[in-house]
Structure formats: C-alpha cells, structure tokens
C-alpha cells in the first residue's frame, strides 16, 4: 500500500469505519512506515484532545420548559383534573402557568411526561413502567439521589431504603462507571435504582424481589428508541434500560449478571 492511500484511510481508521481486513492491511503498512505512523499518532492525539476538551453545551433547564409549553400550545390538552405528578415531584400545581424557577421549569416538562391515570395503551405494562422510570431519570435533577462513583457509599445508602438493591459494582474498567443511586416508584412500588453510564449514555439498573419465581435468562427488547434487558435470578427481577446500543447494553447486563 502506498502512503497516499494509507494517509487517506487513517481517518476512517480512527473513526472505527474500516472493516477487519482493511484495518489489518493499513496497520501492516503503518508498522513499516514511519511517516504514516507519525501521522496516525498525531491524528489520534487530535481526536483525544477534541473529545476531552471540546465544550459540551447542555440545554439550560428553562429551555425544556419553554419547549414543553410551546408544544402544549400546539396540541389541545386533557382537562387539568387528570394531570397528576407522581414520584418525588409532588407539591407542584398542575398546568404550564407555573411560577418560574427550577422547580417550575422541570415540572413543566414533567407534567406531560408523567400524566398517569387510566393507562393510555392497553399493553402498558412493566416495560412502560420501567421506561418511564428511565425517562424520568433523564429530567434535570432526577437522575440520582446519591451521586458518587464510590460503591461503598451507594450500597449502604440503598440498602437502608429498599429491600432489594440492584448490584453496585465497579465496572469502570469495563467501560460502565458508576454514577449513583436513587429510590424510584415503579408500578406503585418503591424500587432501588443504581445508575451507571457508558460514555454519555445513562443506564438505569432496577431490581426488585420476586419471591418464588424461577430464574430466567436475559431477555431483550426495544421500545420507543430505548433498549431494555430483563432477567431473573435468585428470586430477584432485574431490568437494565438505556438508549445505549443493544450490543453494549447486553455487555453491561452480562457483566452485572455474572457478578451475581
């Protein structure tokens, strides 16, 4: 392979876009060519610098409320009586004409997300409940009650609040660092949740006791752009939910399940 061709392929190489054979051929060239090896290390350095140093602008909290309100104006809504916040956002009056401030801002979005009452879809089931817990967790300030990457803090915190705590593991080396934990409500019950992440993807791991039920292997499903994996072991039901790509989420679930 000549250097012109190799140089052009260095970009798809660092972007993970080369197939196995193409990668092998290019790396063979790079191993013998100092010029291309230098270009490669410089490209990789630039990529690392960009990935760690480019500013990530997060949406201001009030913007979610502003957008929620604009969308609400576009679509006639249900009678206010049916609106109900559940979970920890209580004490906030219904409607979008809320007072300003962070609570109001988050609630403006939460309201329509968390409208419950009679199930909207008949197939609304545990999947929806788990999914709702995940989506709620993505709202500002809802992700964790205890934020720490130290599992020796999360574990006792959860154990003192719920019967069953999901496994709290140190999976940072596998690419799934611990973010924290929270107590959530799923299907009307208090449930312990341990939060991990993979890059920018949040993974919620839920667990509750299902006494007397048989063990079940990993079951995978996708719903509304999210992936969910559930399994049962030793009378405990586990759910992992994320917008992470399914193969990666499966790796995570396997690591958790293997650890017990």
């Amino acid at each position: 392979m000549e250097c012109d061709r190799a140089s052009a392929l260095l970009h798809p190489l660092i972007d993970g876009e080369l197939g196995f054979l193409g990668r092998q051929r290019l790396l063979r060239h790079v191993a013998r060519c100092g010029g291309c090896a230098g270009r490669l290390s410089e490209l990789q350095a630039l990529q690392t610098a960009l990935r760690t140093k480019l500013q990530y602008h997060r949406a201001p909290p009030a913007l979610a409320a502003r957008i929620g309100a604009a969308i609400a104006r576009e679509s006639p809504s249900l009678a206010p009586a049916r609106r109900r916040l559940f979970g920890r956002g209580s004490g906030v009056p219904a409607g979008f004409g809320l007072a300003g401030g962070l609570v109001g801002a988050a609630a403006g979005v939460a309201l329509t997300l968390l409208v419950t009452g009679a199930p909207i879809r008949p197939e609304s089931d545990m999947v929806s409940a788990v999914l709702d817990s995940h989506v709620r967790s993505l709202l500002p300030n809802h992700l964790t009650d205890v934020v720490t990457s130290d599992r020796h803090t999360v574990k006792p915190w959860l154990s003192s609040r719920v019967d069953v705590s999901p496994p709290v593991r140190d999976l940072a080396e596998e690419g799934f660092p611990l973010v924290g934990g929270r107590v959530d409500y799923v299907d009307g019950h208090q449930v312990g949740v341990v939060v991990y992440r993979h890059d920018r993807h949040i993974i919620n791991l839920l667990a509750w006791s299902s006494p007397g039920k048989a063990d079940e292997g990993l079951k995978t499903q996708s719903r509304q752009g999210f992936n969910l994996i559930t399994w049962r072991k030793g009378g405990v039901t586990f759910w992992a939910v994320s917008d992470l790509e399914i193969g990666e989420l499966r790796k995570f679930a396997l690591a958790i399940a293997a650890a017990g």
């Binding site: 610098a49 480019l54 006639p76 997300l113 909207i120």
Partner: protein
C-alpha cells in the same frame, strides 16, 4: 374516572410519546445548535423552532429508526433556514465539494512531515484555544467534526444528518482535521513567539 374522549386524548398521547422520545436528546440537540449558532440566545430560538417542527412532523418519524439522527437533522435544517432569515448578509456554507463526492486526497492537507513531539503537544493543547479554533472552522466542517467527536456518530448517521454522501462526510472530516491541525500549529507558534 371519566376517560376523556376523542381528539384531546389522542393529542396527549402523541405529545407524551414525542416528549418521551425527543426530550432525552435535548442536550445533544442544544449542543449542536449552540455550536452552529455560536451563542446561546440564537441556539435557544433555533432549538425551540426545531422541536416544534419535529413535533409537527412526528407522524412522519418511523419507529425503529434513530430519533437522535432525525432530530439533529431537523435542528440543522432549522438552523439553515434561520440563517437565511436572520443572517442573509453572511455566507455560512461555502460550497466545497466540487462535484457530489470529491474525495480530496487527505495527503495534500496532511502533507507536512509529521513530528512526533507535536502529537504530544496536541495532547496537552490548551482547551480554550482548541474551542476557539473549532468555532472558527467553516460551518460545514465544524458540524461534521462535532457530530463525529462529540456525538460520536458513525459516518452513515452523519451523512443522514447533514444530507451528503458518506464519501463527502469522510473528506470533510479529513479537511476539518487538517485545518485544525494547521491552525493550531500557526497559533501555537504565534503565541510562542510572543513569549506566552
């Protein structure tokens, strides 16, 4: 409980589904809008407009496809029409592709002899300077770089967001990296000569 009938219930269901899907990507959408628009006030206007558009066309979104790709392409298109209305005197997109799929040999841009110590220097590059250099890239180079390095999108997804062939994504990425590298060296040399 009285179940509301007809249109309002359907509307609420639609809105709820939209928010379930679209709001988790608010940060990604905002980040793109902010990097495109260059300031937060404009980014917020663009984003609100984009989300409204997305909501109106939500029925056209096919389940199973990637909502982030769909949303980001709407954010981008909204930004472009916003530019037309508000910054008509400023040329944002410089046509560079010379035919649909001109893959410029990266070597011409990356042609100087690489210097290994420079790889090390890049690693310790000043974050402020790097951000400014990216801000100064022409929009069509800045956007592919952001989608790749910040959103970590595949070439295929970037091509769907930007609406150009994959080969163009690849050549724009190569050029944006070459421009960045070149400008970074120039800037560093300038600061060094000023004794910074």
């Amino acid at each position: 409980m009285n179940e509301p009938q007809g249109r309002p219930a359907v509307q609420d269901d639609r809105r709820r589904r939209f928010e379930l899907l679209a709001l988790p990507h608010l940060d990604a959408a905002y980040n793109l809008a902010r990097w495109l628009a260059g300031n937060s006030a404009d980014a917020e206007d663009v984003l609100q407009d984009a989300y409204l558009r997305a909501f109106r066309y939500f029925d056209a979104f096919r389940g199973g496809s990637d909502i982030r790709v769909w949303l980001l392409s709407i954010v981008r298109n909204t930004f472009l029409s916003w530019v037309k209305e508000n910054r008509s005197n400023r040329l944002v997109f410089i046509p560079d592709d010379r035919g649909a799929d001109a893959t410029e040999p990266a070597e011409t841009m990356w042609g100087e002899t690489p210097r290994d110590p420079e790889a090390l220097m890049l690693q310790s590059a000043d974050a402020g300077m790097l951000n400014r250099l990216v801000e100064d890239l022409p929009t069509e180079y800045r956007e592919v770089l952001l989608l790749r390095e910040v959103e970590e999108m595949s070439y295929r997804d970037i091509s769907a967001v930007v609406g150009v062939p994959i080969g163009t994504v690849m050549s724009r990425l190569a050029r944006s990296r070459a421009m960045l590298r070149h400008r970074w060296h120039t800037q560093s040399a300038k600061e060094a000569s000023h004794g910074v």
